[in-house]
């Protein structure tokens, strides 16, 4: 199980964000993506997911191009971008259930309740997401991590809007997933408590 990126080049408009980017991620490893604002971190993550068309280069999952085997790739992928992908008029449980259904997994109400309570949201199961704070909404979105069976996590600034306790919890969730043989790619400014040999640092700053 590997994700291999070869000679990837992306640009936005006329500006080339990065070129010749090559790295490989195997089971049990985590990529910490670094770069200044505007260096193309989000663009890289979006092109890994197939939401952005790179100019050149290949992205392979389990040895096959992700573009040509979307079904198997998307079954293993969990992506959370800047947006929480929550419907403001639905309550957290309904949101989690719909999103899991879309991902092809079925989640019972109890499972959803449990995931929410681990993220400190017990008591808010019936509250429309509209009435939750920014941080709480982010917690709802992140509790999908506990329900997902995906092995590749791609997280864009997951720690934004979270308080110290939630940051710690999320770090432990990610590290556990990786230690159990999962993979993760994330952009963050927080340090992660993970052994050095499992951590790969990819920096986009040299292209600026």
């Amino acid at each position: 199980m590997t994700l291999s990126v070869n000679q990837l080049q992306c640009s936005r408009g006329d500006i080339c964000l990065f070129e010749g980017l090559t790295f490989e991620l195997s089971a049990g490893q985590l990529i910490w993506l670094e770069g200044k604002n505007g260096s193309g971190k989000t663009t890289l993550l979006r092109s890994l997911c197939g939401l952005f068309l790179p100019d050149a280069g290949t992205i392979k999952w389990k040895g096959e191009l992700t573009r040509s085997s979307e079904d198997t790739f998307y079954k293993d992928l969990f992506y959370l971008g800047h947006q929480n992908a929550l419907k403001l008029d639905l309550n957290p449980v309904e949101n989690l259930q719909v999103l899991s259904r879309l991902a092809g997994e079925s989640v019972s109400e109890e499972q959803a309740d449990e995931a929410l309570s681990r993220f400190g949201l017990s008591g808010y199961e019936e509250t429309p997401v509209r009435k939750l704070s920014q941080g709480q909404q982010r917690r709802v979105a992140l509790s999908r991590l506990l329900l997902s069976k995906a092995s590749l996590l791609i997280l864009d600034e997951p720690f934004v809007a979270l308080d110290a306790a939630a940051v710690e919890l999320l770090q432990s969730v990610i590290v556990t997933q990786v230690e159990q043989g999962g993979m993760a790619i994330l952009t963050t400014h927080q340090a992660l408590p993970i052994p050095e040999e499992k951590l790969i640092r990819v920096s986009l700053d040299r292209y600026v």
């Binding site: 939401l51 079954k75 992506y79 879309l102």
Partner: protein, 223 residues
């Protein structure tokens, strides 16, 4: 796959139930447009009957374009659309669920309110029946063609007006045969079957091709 289809359909209906104003704006737009024509033209029975088919259909077209922008705009804004693109389900199936929900919320109410329009224009009971039937066949086509336009204009500024400009010309065949059927029904001695068959053919074509076209447009728009 079917589970995701149902889940998405249910979600969209549930969201609409929690924000009912969205449904009623389209419905009231239709009723008002249909009602102001007699005020501006004439109350004479013969004139009203003559303009009825065209007026009802044009009002239905405009009402349907009014709601198009919303099909994908909310999902695009809150990131749900991205999640839909990243599922193992075929995107065209999910798109079809969304289009169906859109029709149930904006097209079907027009079909149900149509007798009211028919009464205002002195249409006979059998003509009203035809009116409802052609609207029932025609409005899903409008929703499906409109979904392509909505997907193409996603994220553009002023997308709402652009989508009307894009899809209204594509609505013309439905308008022609839809209002033709009503006119034929008023004459009484013309067979309606060709109209129904042609409209159903459009419906089948739309059912097969528009989900694929909409899915492709969505991928382009998100990139």
């Amino acid at each position: 796959m079917f589970d995701s289809f149902l889940a998405l359909l249910k979600r969209d209906l549930l969201l609409a139930l929690r924000r009912r104003s969205d449904i009623f704006t389209v419905l009231f737009f239709f009723i008002i447009v249909v009602s102001i024509f007699p005020l501006g033209i004439s109350f004479e029975k013969a004139v009203l009957q003559k303009i009825a088919p065209g007026v009802v259909w044009v009002a239905a077209l405009l009402a349907s374009t009014l709601a198009l922008e919303r099909i994908f705009a909310n999902d695009y804004a809150d990131g749900t659309l991205e999640q839909m693109l990243l599922t193992p389900q075929p995107l065209s199936v999910l798109v079809f669920a969304k289009t169906l929900a859109h029709w149930l919320l904006t097209g079907l109410p027009l079909v149900l309110i149509a007798p009211l329009a028919g009464l205002q224009y002195h249409l006979s009971a059998s003509t009203i029946g035809t009116l409802m039937l052609v609207l029932l066949i025609g409005t899903p086509i409008l929703s499906m063609i409109g979904a392509i336009g909505a997907a193409l204009t996603l994220g553009l500024r002023g997308g709402g007006i652009l989508v009307s400009l894009l899809v209204l010309p594509l609505y013309i065949p439905v308008l022609v045969y839809g209002s033709g059927a009503i006119e034929a029904a008023m004459q009484g001695d013309v067979s309606l079957q060709p109209y129904y068959l042609l409209l159903l053919a459009f419906l089948l074509l739309a059912l097969v091709f528009t989900p694929l076209a909409t899915a492709a447009s969505l991928r382009i728009s998100v990139e």
